[in-house]
Every structure is written in structure tokens, then in C-alpha cells.
């Protein structure tokens, strides 16, 4: 008991500590030109380490991803660990994982924007980039996992001389449409707020970069009319992309939920997957922010413990929501009493790969619940980095439990199977991690990673006003 009281005591003192508003980015303004300079420096500073990483990751993409994939295409899927009855393995797991990651950008950027959460301002871009690149990495998997990828276009509905059409009853076609829609809309959504920053970069560069930014900035001059239209467009997109985001992961969940497979055909899979995606996405944002903060010049000015704090709270909430859906899924499956489902649920916890299931529970519930209630932990970036990384390991384990482990124990015990990922699969999975990181790394030196105009806008809107003797932080409504 004593220890507990002590803990509370600590917490209280932390709360009671007077926080200097200057610690917050919005109340620590710098001149406009200074911010622009910082962002430009951030973009143009490259170290030897950076190039080593870039080359390493580039080689990783070529060898681990495309090399292994090419090898798999030429020799056949026997190099994977797939076997009857487990026809989907770590490719689909990683596919769902990346689609989950891609929810971060939209969620952090669009939802926080819609709800006017001011702490979002410095990292919306970083989050949106995650969406686009996460999707790019994830969208490869529906191709990678095909037995005959060279005829992937059979899945695309286009008029053809063979009079063949796609089966719109198949969730895989829904997937295709949903993912392309999401990829397109999230790219546009990334691009729109980027335009003023590109114009800023255009004005501060020369040579080939200047020309490139000139084209990309679409002749942005910063007139009132342009700002008005841009705000309007962002506003519309922010609202419109939210249902797209929800639908995408719901459809990914339907890949499983509409099937006949015991343990998959659960009506709760849609929201369950969305919550899981947001949990893993927001966690991934924190992970990336930590990396950006520690590698990019001047980033520690823009990203501060307050941001980690705010995102940490979000993660805690979503971890609890995830747990709620998780138990709902299990409880109702168990209560439904179908022998096969019960067996699967039991085998998740007792079967040959039960450690994956426990890993999921520990990483997704135990770790965040035990740590994130603590403000100090939330405000310690490197701790947050480790915690969020752990959560994403847990989310990977969750998808792994749902896909191969559930498939391995279906209704006929004679046909059960245990799945072990094989080197080629692991290589491809690592390859897409390389791809994601590589794209992110390169892009971080090509576009302003901080939406500098949004930060400036926020800093202008935030002021400390004296009311009586106290200084009170105030915000001006912009829209």
C-alpha cells in the first residue's frame, strides 16, 4: 500500500509542478523567417550517416524485397511457409499491419484537424506521409501474395475483349477499390497543405530543386484568395477522408469477416480492426516522431514532450478500446458455442503458437496500461519510442493470431496445420519495412517535414494574456 501512495504522491507533485507555457511550441514563437530557415536547414542537411542509411535501405529494398519477390515469382510459392490449410500467412499479416499503420496519418491529421486539436500542428505532415507510404508498402502485398502476380490485372474491372468481368461479390475486389481510393485521397490530402510549404522552399532554393518546387508549388503566391481556397479544400478533404479511412479498414476486416472460416466470421471485426489500426497507427506516429526528433536538425524545437504526452494519452485510450473489442470478439465467439470457434479460441491460448497470443496481450494491454498513465513516462520521448514500438509488435502479433493461427485450426482436426514463416517471406516483410523507411528517409530531405505555415499560424493564434496577475494562454479561433 505504501508504494502505491508513494506513486500517487509522485504523480501529484508532477501535476502540481507549475508548467511554463513557454515549454509549449505554440507559446514559444520564433520569427517567421527563422522558422522558414530552420525548416529549410532541416531539409537540406545530410550527414554521412544519412547516406549510409539511405544506401543500406535502398539495397535492402532491392535485395530483400524485390530480389526475394522475384525469386518467389520464378520458383513458385513453395518457398513460403504456406501449406494446407493455411493459405494466407505473413504476407496478409503484414498487409493488414501496413494498412493499420496508414490510419495514423489520417487519424492524427484529419480527425485532430476537424476537432481543432492544436497540438497536431507540427506533425500532421509526418503523419500524413506515414499514411501514404504505409499504403504504398501495404498495397504491394495483395500483389506479392498472388500465386500468379503476372496476371494481377484480372482483378481490375476494365472493359476487355474477353468479356470478362470481376466478381464484385468478392471482398478482394472491394479491397482493391478501397485501397486505391484511400491511396489517391490520402495523397491529395498530403499534397494540399504541402503547397504553401513547397512555395516557401521554392523561394529559398536554386537550381534543379528550385525548378522542381516551382512545378510542385503550382504557382502558389500566397494571396488571400489562394489561402481561402486552400483552407476550404483542406477542410473538405479532412471531413471526406475520415469515412474513407473507416471504410478501408472495415473492408480489410471484411476480407475475414464475410468468410466461412471459424474464428473469422465475426460481426465485430470491422470496428475491431479500425480500433486496432488506430492504435497501431498512432503508436507508429510516436515512433516516427521520436526518430525524426533525434535525427532531423531543429526538430527538437518543433516536437516537444507535450506532443508525446498528448499522443500517449490517445494511445492509452485506444489501447483500452482495443481491449474492449478484443474481449467482445472472444466472449461472443465463446458464448455462441460453435465447437470449432471455441476450439480455436482455446488453441490460441494453449496451442503450439500460444506465445504469439500472449505476446499480443502483453504488448497491447499490459505495457501501455502499466506505463502510459504516468505523465513523466509520456513526456519522455525515448520511453515513448520503446512503448510504441512494443505496441506495434503486439499489433503484428494480433494480426498473426487472426490470420495463420486461426486458419491452422479449422473444423477438421485431420487437416490442422502449423505455419512457420520461411526466409523468403521474412525477407519480403523486412523488405517492405526497408521500403517504407527508405521512402520516408528520402522524402524527409525533399519536402518540408514540418508544415511550417501551420505552425506559424498556430503561433500567431496563441498568445499569453495577462488577466489580473496571472498569465493565461489564449487561442484565437481562426476559421
Amino acid at each position: 500500500m505504501a508504494a502505491e501512495t508513494k506513486l500517487f504522491g509522485k504523480l501529484k507533485t508532477a501535476e502540481q509542478e507549475h508548467e511554463d507555457p513557454k515549454e509549449q511550441l505554440m507559446f514559444d514563437p520564433r520569427p517567421r523567417e527563422e522558422l522558414n530557415r530552420m525548416v529549410m536547414e532541416m531539409m537540406t542537411t545530410t550527414t554521412k550517416k544519412f547516406w549510409l542509411w539511405a544506401i543500406g535501405l535502398g539495397v535492402g529494398v532491392v535485395v530483400l524485397l524485390f530480389g526475394a519477390w522475384g525469386y518467389m515469382i520464378s520458383t513458385g510459392m513453395w518457398v513460403t511457409g504456406l501449406r494446407r490449410p493455411i493459405f494466407w500467412g505473413v504476407f496478409i499479416v503484414t498487409f493488414v499491419f501496413w494498412i493499420g499503420i496508414s490510419h495514423a496519418g489520417t487519424f492524427v491529421s484529419a480527425i485532430l484537424r476537424v476537432f481543432k486539436a492544436e497540438f497536431r500542428r507540427p506533425f500532421t505532415r509526418a503523419a500524413e506521409l506515414m499514411t501514404t507510404f504505409g499504403l504504398a508498402a501495404g498495397a504491394l502485398y495483395p500483389l506479392i501474395h498472388l500465386g500468379r502476380v503476372w496476371v494481377f490485372y484480372f482483378m481490375i474491372p476494365y472493359p476487355n475483349a474477353r468479356w470478362l468481368w470481376v466478381n464484385f461479390r468478392s471482398p478482394l475486389v472491394w479491397d482493391l477499390l478501397a485501397i486505391t481510393t484511400y491511396l489517391l485521397s490520402s495523397t491529395i490530402y498530403l499534397y494540399l497543405p504541402l503547397v504553401p510549404d513547397l512555395a516557401m522552399a521554392r523561394d529559398r532554393t536554386t537550381g534543379i530543386r528550385h525548378s522542381a518546387y516551382k512545378i510542385l508549388a503550382l504557382g502558389w503566391r500566397g494571396t488571400e484568395a489562394e489561402w481561402f481556397r486552400l483552407r476550404k479544400a483542406i477542410q473538405i478533404f479532412a471531413f471526406a477522408i475520415i469515412p474513407v479511412m473507416f471504410s478501408v479498414h472495415t473492408i480489410v476486416a471484411w476480407d475475414f469477416a464475410v468468410s466461412q472460416v471459424a474464428g473469422w466470421h465475426s460481426t465485430i471485426f470491422g470496428p475491431y480492426f479500425i480500433i486496432g489500426a488506430i492504435l497501431s497507427g498512432v503508436s507508429a506516429v510516436v515512433t516516427i516522431l521520436y526518430i525524426l526528433r533525434s535525427t532531423l536538425k531543429h526538430m527538437d524545437y518543433f516536437l516537444r514532450p507535450e506532443h508525446f504526452d498528448a499522443l500517449g494519452k490517445l494511445i492509452l485510450v485506444f489501447s483500452m478500446a482495443w481491449a474492449y473489442f478484443f474481449f467482445n470478439d472472444y466472449l461472443l465467439g465463446w458464448y455462441g458455442g460453435e465447437a470449432a470457434v471455441r476450439q480455436i479460441l482455446t488453441l490460441h491460448a494453449t496451442g503450439p503458437a500460444a506465445w504469439v497470443w500472449y505476446l499480443m496481450l502483453i504488448c497491447n494491454m499490459a505495457v501501455p496500461w502499466l506505463t502510459l498513465w504516468n505523465r513523466k513516462i509520456r513526456r519522455t520521448p525515448w520511453l515513448m519510442f520503446i512503448i510504441t514500438l512494443t505496441i506495434n509488435v503486439g499489433m503484428f502479433a494480433e494480426r498473426y493470431t487472426i490470420v495463420p493461427l486461426t486458419l491452422g485450426h479449422q473444423r477438421t482436426p485431420f487437416d490442422w496445420g502449423v505455419y512457420t514463416p520461411q526466409p523468403v517471406e521474412i525477407s519480403i516483410v523486412l523488405g517492405t519495412f526497408c521500403l517504407f523507411t527508405f521512402l520516408y528517409l528520402i522524402t524527409s530531405r525533399l519536402i518540408p517535414m514540418v508544415p511550417v505555415w501551420e505552425v506559424q499560424e498556430g503561433q500567431v493564434a496563441h498568445t499569453l494574456r495577462k488577466i489580473g496577475k496571472a498569465e493565461v494562454p489564449t487561442v484565437t479561433e481562426l476559421d
Partner: protein, 238 residues
């Protein structure tokens, strides 16, 4: 799929009381349908390709132990779980024969159908068949040799159904009961398999499917299988 009223409705009856589990059907099917042998490592890994195979479970404890043989092939479901999930219509319902077909050339290998088949009757070609010359000489020209990356499964020997129908139509007569037999039925040493047209109430298969011992595999899933099993064993099993 919409219900289509069609003359033919092929069905199979498996009399488990006659079935000895000898696996002649497995080999007959493989030789007829160019099912490739995959070798020891692949079988050990769970990639042996069998369009029909015996699911042998042990019943009881020593010394009252006995194998329960259940030959399982594609059940040719009337409401097949594999069909709606295929994005390219490679798993389709044939209107004429009322069976599930796999269009190999259309298959892109998503393997969704295989996950969704509760009977695990669908097989995937993890690699190209390795049949050294001249052993490829016995491959049946009526059946496609599947390349790597496509799903395959029992077709009720649709090539024989079509062949039988063509012969009958050339002779200007209806198909006779028992004229068309898939390879497994033709081979079955103990006569456990009976094949025929379920839409003809007088066919042998229709009669047998009415047997009081009859049951369908996983009937509760509503797949409407065209394969009927007759319970076997027991002191007075029928």
C-alpha cells in the same frame, strides 16, 4: 448464385460402410486428372496435392480402437463458400452440370477460396509439376496441367461428364444412369462410391441418397453439398 433450374444435377454418394479406406480413389483421381506428385518433403510440409483424400481419425482407445475413414473430395456445394470470394470468377458454378468449376487460366492465386472451403478440398500449386520425360506421356489430354500459382480441386471428372453427354447426344439418346463415372468411382474396389444424376429420382444415386444412414458433411454451414455420406460401422449400422 441465383437458383437455376437445370436438368442435370450430379451427385455422389459415399457409403462409409463399404469404404475400406484403401485409397485407390486417391490414385485413380490423380492419374485421371494429372494431379502431380510432389515428393516426400512437400507431403511432409502439408503440400501433397490430393483432390480426394481419406481423413482418417482414430475412434476409441486401445484395444477398442479403429480408424474412421472419411474420403473427402470437393463437395460441389450448391451454395459454395469458395465461389463468391474469388475476385476473378475463377471459382464458378457451372450452370449445366451444377458443379463448382475452377477456371485455371482465370485464377490469379489469391487462395481465398481455399481458406474459405470448410472441407479443405482445394489444393494449391506451390510449384510447377515436376514430371520428368517420358513420364509426362500418360498425362490426360482432356485435363489441363496446372501451372504454379493456381488453385485446383475435384471436378467430379467434368471431362468425363461432358464426354458422356457428347456420346449420348451423338447416339441421340439420353444419358443412362451409371454411364458417367468419375475416376474414383470407377476404381473404388469395394463399391463405396456411387455417382449419378440427382435430378433423376430413379437414379441409383438418388435412391441411395435417401438412405436412412445419410448425412452431409458440415450440413450446418448451409453449403448444400452434392456429396452424401452414408454412415458406416457399428454392429447394426444399417
Amino acid at each position: 448464385m441465383a437458383e437455376v433450374s437445370i436438368a442435370e444435377k450430379w451427385g455422389l454418394v459415399v457409403d462409409q460402410d463399404r469404404c475400406t479406406g484403401c485409397n485407390a480413389c486417391v490414385v485413380a483421381c490423380s492419374m485421371e486428372n494429372n494431379v502431380p506428385f510432389t515428393g516426400e518433403d512437400n507431403v511432409a510440409f502439408g503440400r501433397g496435392t490430393y483432390w480426394i483424400y481419406n481423413k482418417r481419425m482414430w475412434e476409441g482407445e486401445y484395444p477398442r480402437v479403429a480408424p474412421a475413414f472419411q474420403p473427402v473430395m470437393c463437395q460441389q456445394c450448391g451454395s459454395a463458400p469458395c465461389e463468391p470470394v474469388c475476385p476473378t470468377f475463377a471459382a464458378v458454378h457451372s450452370e449445366e452440370e451444377q458443379i463448382n468449376l475452377q477456371v485455371y487460366i482465370r485464377c490469379i492465386g489469391t487462395r481465398y477460396c481455399a481458406n474459405n472451403c470448410p472441407y479443405h478440398a482445394r489444393q494449391f500449386n506451390f510449384q510447377d509439376p515436376d514430371i520428368p520425360e517420358p513420364m509426362n506421356s500418360y498425362l490426360n489430354p482432356d485435363v489441363t496441367v496446372r501451372s504454379k500459382g493456381v488453385m485446383e480441386k475435384c471436378t467430379f471428372c467434368v471431362q468425363r461428364i461432358v464426354g458422356g453427354r457428347q456420346t449420348a447426344s451423338a447416339e441421340d439418346r439420353p444419358l443412362r444412369d451409371g454411364e458417367v463415372t468419375p475416376a474414383c468411382v470407377a476404381a473404388c474396389p469395394s463399391g463405396a462410391l456411387v455417382f449419378g444424376d440427382l435430378s433423376d429420382p430413379n437414379s441409383r444415386v438418388s435412391q441411395m441418397a435417401q438412405n436412412e444412414r445419410q448425412y452431409k458433411l458440415m450440413d450446418e454451414l448451409g453449403t448444400k453439398p452434392k456429396v452424401t455420406y452414408l454412415k458406416g460401422g457399428g454392429r447394426n449400422g444399417g
